[in-house]
């Protein structure tokens, strides 16, 4: 097992990474081309699929041709991320714009040490099957490492048993990698209750009593966002929040010092790590975004021309974009 791992790690970390990435890209392109081809054959004139009668040939059991576009998108994003990571690893400098909220993390942790108070980290109120919780925990890993280096205590009340266990593993390893294994105490990472407002009652109660110097809210939040943020504000804590729940963003924006909005939240862990490979994934995200912008512009243009002068070619283009590239 160890040998296999070593080989794979070597592939992922050394120069042979380039070969693997190239191979992956070629493989992905081949697969997507064949998938596209098969979908083209199965419902031949591309443009007229909407009115064409469904063909009687059944889809191959190994691939759902209705999801070709989705598959291509994932392959595209995967390839964009892979190539960006490859470029980053091969030493090409990556410039990432400043994200104020993340620049503030070190200071916020340092402030807690100076004041001799604790740091509160709330990893959201959802379970491990929510990707925001996973993103929150990766962020916890970074914050806990900084806290271990600064010798600050970090309290993590959790709303789910599994999150508690995962958070304990994460923080333990962070202390270990910071060389302060002795500073770790599992008792600071506790399970409170699965109930949303039971959890809130406890967390705000202990906030008022223990007055943490810094509060992090990173994960999936619902109504409790403002209760936390206002209580934190009342006790004068520095507050940094991050969530992808767009309904809660206004409250964090209004009541916290710094807020990571949507995508920034997912980028946080990579940004803080400073590792080229991780920063490379951010570039990959940007490539995806650029593609979306171009597609939207294309679609808008096509549909506008369609309204002004309905010409067959443009109709064809427009339908092609919608049906094939966006699966609409």
């Amino acid at each position: 097992m160890r040998i296999t791992h070593k080989i794979l790690c070597r592939i992922f970390t050394n120069h042979s990474w380039k070969c693997v990435a190239t191979f992956l890209c070629i493989a992905m392109c081949c697969v997507s081309a064949s998938a596209l081809l098969s979908s083209c054959i199965s419902n031949a004139p591309l443009v007229d699929t909407a009115i064409a009668t469904p063909t009687t040939t059944t889809a191959p059991p190994w691939f759902n041709s209705e999801k070709t576009a989705l598959f291509l998108w994932i392959v595209f994003i995967g390839a964009a991320v892979t190539v960006s990571v490859w470029l980053a690893k091969s030493g090409r400098p990556i410039r990432i714009r400043r994200i104020a909220a993340l620049e503030a993390v070190d200071n916020a942790v340092g402030r807690a040490t100076e004041m001799g108070r604790s740091i509160l980290f709330v990893p959201g109120i959802q379970d491990m099957d929510n990707i925001q919780t996973v993103a929150g925990l990766t962020m916890l890993g970074r914050v806990a490492k900084t806290a271990a280096e600064y010798d600050a205590t970090i309290e993590v009340p959790t709303c789910r048993s599994l999150v508690m266990e995962a958070a304990r593993d994460t923080v333990r390893a962070s202390y270990l990698s910071a060389g302060r294994a002795d500073g770790f105490s599992a008792d600071r990472i506790t399970y409170i209750t699965d109930d949303q407002f039971g959890y809130v009652a406890h967390v705000v109660g202990s906030m008022v009593r223990e007055k943490p110097a810094t509060c992090f809210y990173m994960g999936c939040f619902f109504a409790e966002s403002l209760i936390f943020a206002e209580t934190g504000n009342a006790i004068g804590a520095i507050q940094i929040a991050g969530t992808a729940e767009s309904s809660q963003l206004p409250f964090f924006v209004a009541a916290c010092d710094y807020t990571l909005i949507g995508e920034e939240f997912f980028a946080a862990s990579a940004y803080l790590s400073g590792e080229p490979a991780q920063l490379g994934t951010l570039r990959g995200q940007d490539v995806g975004k650029f593609a979306v912008v171009v597609l939207i512009a294309w679609g808008v243009l096509a549909s506008t021309i369609l309204v002004i002068a309905p010409s067959t070619v443009v109709v064809g283009w427009f339908l092609y974009v919608l049906q094939k590239v966006l699966g609409g």
């Binding site: 097992m1 791992h5 790690c9 992922f12 889809a59 059991p61 691939f63 759902n64 999801k67 989705l70 598959f71 994003i77 892979t82 990571v85 379970d127 491990m128 990707i131 996973v134 925990l137 990766t138 890993g141 970074r142 789910r160 048993s161 508690m164 266990e165 995962a166 994460t170 923080v171 333990r172 390893a173 962070s174 270990l176 990698s177 506790t190 399970y191 409170i192 699965d194 407002f197 009652a201 403002l226 209760i227 206002e230 992808a244 767009s246 963003l249 209004a254 009541a255 949507g262 995508e263 862990s269 990579a270 790590s273 590792e275 490979a277 991780q278 990959g284 995200q285 975004k289 979306v292």
Partner: protein
């Protein structure tokens, strides 16, 4: 080794799940996982309960300040658990009287529904209701016209707040028909359908890409901080 195996479990499971979405035969894998996850989470409750009991028992044995509150927490936890797990005082379902535990805990008049109605409901919904106070203080403090962004935030909030009550009708209801689009209630819907839709769409597209990149970082083994720390 302790870190390598989990990493590969995650990588294999993740790619398998991703591919399963495209294979017609395996499309229900996601649903099956939801079931498996719910069961694992329910079993893991034992760990949460253990942590809860441990923290409060420790407080109790150390006679920490406020240990009396720990007694309340532990006592109410154990009593509720006892009543609920054993379905204390629950009659069998009239359709299946032969099955002793066929009755539902929620039956009116049971001890369980008493706990629900007179403890959980008032406590949690009052906690929820505190938000009404906090929105007021947050609006007072944070909605100040410091710069363009803040002005936009507060003007929009203003329009929606007024447009969603009778006050909007009183203030702008007299606008003539050709200017009905400027009536507060219509303006607030216009804001919702145009600006709010645009903002939310962009946030959603960004989140989708963020989720994809985060997922790929995990599945490529680039980000291992969820396993704790940086490198294995």
């Amino acid at each position: 080794m302790k870190r390598i195996i989990p990493m590969w479990i995650a990588i294999i499971a993740g790619f398998a799940m991703m591919l399963s979405s495209f294979v017609p035969l395996a499309e229900s894998a996601g649903e099956m996982f939801a079931d498996v996850f719910n069961v694992v989470a329910a079993i893991a409750f034992v760990l949460g309960a253990g942590s809860l009991a441990k923290q409060h028992l420790e407080k109790l044995s150390r006679r920490d300040a406020g240990w009396g509150y720990s007694v309340i927490t532990l006592g109410s936890f154990l009593i509720t658990l006892f009543i609920g797990m054993l379905k204390i005082g629950i009659h069998p379902n009239p359709s299946f009287p032969q099955a002793a535990y066929s009755g539902s805990n929620d039956a009116e008049g049971s001890a369980w529904s008493w706990i629900y109605e007179y403890m959980i409901t008032p406590l949690t919904s009052t906690m929820f209701a505190l938000l009404a106070f906090f929105v007021a203080s947050a609006a007072f403090r944070a909605f100040r016209a410091k710069n363009t962004e803040a002005i936009l935030l507060l003007v929009t909030a203003f329009i929606v707040l007024l447009g969603r009550t009778f006050a909007g009708v009183v203030l702008t209801g007299w606008f003539p028909d050709w200017a009905s689009g400027l009536r507060l209630e219509n303006l607030s819907i216009y804001v919702m359908q145009v600006f709010n839709t645009a903002g939310n769409r962009a946030i959603m597209i960004g989140i989708a890409l963020g989720v994809a990149a985060t997922g790929l970082r995990i599945l490529f083994g680039i980000d291992r901080s969820w396993l704790g720390g940086g490198d294995a």
